[in-house]
């Protein structure tokens, strides 16, 4: 191979790399610097560097509540997605190929439909005048509507619906690597299905569960449309707060600081978890 040949991969990837540096890396660095400026109501971004925005976020009860709510919500959504997505992926793996094709479209198809449309569906279902409340009242089971929209529970349910396909997908991928002979061996030795699931299947799909959990957690913590529509103005999370600071209060430096903190937490969790998974389950990835 001559010298020109060795430079080829760099030439080939250069356009993409330049686009990413210019439109992702550089703007992120600028956001970091923006977060270090004070807010000046007259001109927007004031003069002189300051850590005041971060101090605000760290000390103000208002922001602490929002961060706690965001990550509490993300954890809960992740736990529910694992509880629902893992068994569903397992059932998918046992279906006949025709039923599996139909089920795949039902489970994964919603990923291709806009989050706005899916969230609208939950708003229709959960509203005080919504389908669930109206049916329950018509059946005489309740007298006054149960509050579901604009509640924490409502947002969690809608987010599970939006994100659970990612979990199914991840677990499904690791189920496909499973050797059916191990299951059959356990069965032929007299193990019942619960034992086979607990001792044979589940331990082998843990890497899939963890990588799915990571995707779901990161997407839940950074979800905007669903908390904004189902949670409303009072149930704020970090992304909706960033939106309000940027486009409502026009306090760009504070909005940038909130975004930086969100980014750092999400990246730290993702990279930390990746490290852990790769070290613990190294052999699985070889």
């Amino acid at each position: 191979m001559d010298e020109r040949r060795n430079l080829l991969p760099y030439w080939l990837s250069a356009p993409g790399v330049i686009a990413m540096l210019a439109l992702v890396a550089l703007p992120l660095v600028l956001t970091l610097s923006l977060s270090l400026y004070p807010f000046d109501p007259a001109v927007g971004v004031g003069e002189g560097l300051t850590g005041a925005n971060y101090a605000d976020i760290a000390t103000d009860e208002y922001f602490r509540t929002i961060f706690a709510r965001t990550f509490g919500m993300a954890l809960m959504v992740t736990a529910l997605c694992i509880a629902v997505g893992v068994p569903e992926a397992y059932v998918l793996s046992r279906l006949s190929s025709r039923w599996r094709a139909v089920s795949m479209v039902i489970v994964l198809g919603p990923l291709l439909i806009s989050v706005v449309v899916r969230t609208l569906g939950w708003a229709v279902l959960l509203g005080n005048e919504g389908v669930i409340n109206k049916s329950l009242m018509a059946l005489g089971m309740i007298d006054s509507p149960i509050r579901m929209i604009f509640t924490f529970t409502g947002v969690v349910v809608a987010l599970v619906h939006v994100l659970v396909p990612f979990m199914v997908l991840a677990v499904w991928a690791s189920l496909q690597k499973l050797d059916p002979a191990t299951e059959q061996a356990a069965e032929s030795l007299g193990a019942g299905l619960p034992t086979v699931l607990a001792r044979i299947v589940f331990p082998q799909v843990i890497p899939g569960v963890l990588s799915g959990g990571l995707i779901v957690f990161a997407l839940a913590a950074s979800a905007f449309a669903t908390p904004a529509i189902i949670g409303g103005r009072r149930l704020k999370v970090v992304p909706t707060t960033v939106y309000d600071e940027f486009l409502g209060n026009l306090n760009w430096p504070l909005g940038a600081a909130l975004a930086v903190v969100l980014l750092v937490i999400v990246l730290a969790v993702s990279l930390g978890m990746n490290r852990f998974v790769e070290r613990r389950w190294k052999q699985v990835f070889q």
Partner: protein, 267 residues
């Protein structure tokens, strides 16, 4: 992976319940769109097409639809043009900095879209590109690039390089090898990647809400702003049209690739 024992009943019941959970909100949107009332309600005591006719009287939604369609097509095409050479480099060559380059090209998947949104709003404002369509297009191009790249790398990793080397040894130029041998072989990955990129651009809300201005609103942004004020059956009828269009694309993707493979980037 079919097992010798039958799937136990509780799992079957769970599977059905899960399917209902996934479909219920979409079914609701479709049902509500056929109401003859002026507010969100079931169509059982009066159905009509009035909210579909209402779409025709909402030119700003129709404009936003065409804008999203064009934006998705252009962004997916630009992302493909950038991702195909990079994907071939990553799949076929071992070079210093390869992992770093791959990480950088996939980085938009790791960054919350709300963060990318404000970062690009600030950046585009500074260089005078905010509220322009090209700014929005550039932003969409980088966020959909990872989807194309994953499928191109997966497609390129699979095939035998000796064919290309044979062509080269017979005197074919690099361009001929690419056009006549390499591109046709990875074309399924490229096409699947383009389609997934298009869908992701068409559906993108969180970043666009910062980068799009009143004159460059995409359909999801327009719909979100409408929902923030009022939820009426017009949104349900527009959503139903979108669900139908997506269903068609879904069939195409599932038929040629399998939804699971194309969505997890393994086609």
């Amino acid at each position: 992976m079919s097992s010798t024992t039958r799937t136990p009943l509780p799992l079957v019941v769970f599977h059905w319940a899960f399917g209902i959970f996934m479909l219920a909100p979409l079914a609701m949107v479709v049902l509500v769109s056929f109401t003859d009332k002026g507010y969100i309600s079931m169509p059982f005591d009066g159905a009509s097409w009035r909210w579909y006719q209402a779409i025709l009287d909402a030119p700003d939604f129709i404009d936003a639809f065409w804008r999203s369609l064009g934006l998705g097509a252009v962004a997916a095409t630009l992302a493909t043009a950038l991702a195909v050479p990079a994907g071939m480099a990553i799949a076929w060559h071992r070079f210093a900095g390869r992992d770093a380059i791959l990480g950088l090209l996939l980085s938009p998947l790791m960054v919350p879209h709300v963060v990318l949104g404000i970062a690009l709003l600030r950046f585009l404002t500074q260089i005078g590109g905010s509220s322009t369509l090209w700014g929005l297009t550039a932003a969409h191009t980088v966020i959909v690039l990872p989807y194309v790249l994953r499928l191109v790398v997966a497609a390129a990793t699979g095939f035998d390089r000796s064919v290309a080397q044979a062509a080269q040894s017979l005197g074919a130029s690099a361009w001929t090898v690419f056009r006549r041998i390499e591109l046709p072989l990875i074309l399924p990955g490229v096409a699947g990647g383009w389609l997934i990129a298009f869908i992701n651009s068409f559906d993108e809300l969180t970043m666009s809400i910062f980068v799009a201005s009143a004159s460059t609103q995409t359909l999801p942004v327009k719909m979100y702003n409408h929902i923030a004020n009022t939820i009426d059956p017009l949104l349900a009828s527009i959503s139903t049209v979108l669900i139908l269009l997506t269903l068609v694309l879904m069939m195409v993707l599932d038929r040629f690739y399998g939804l699971d493979r194309v969505l997890s980037g393994k086609a």
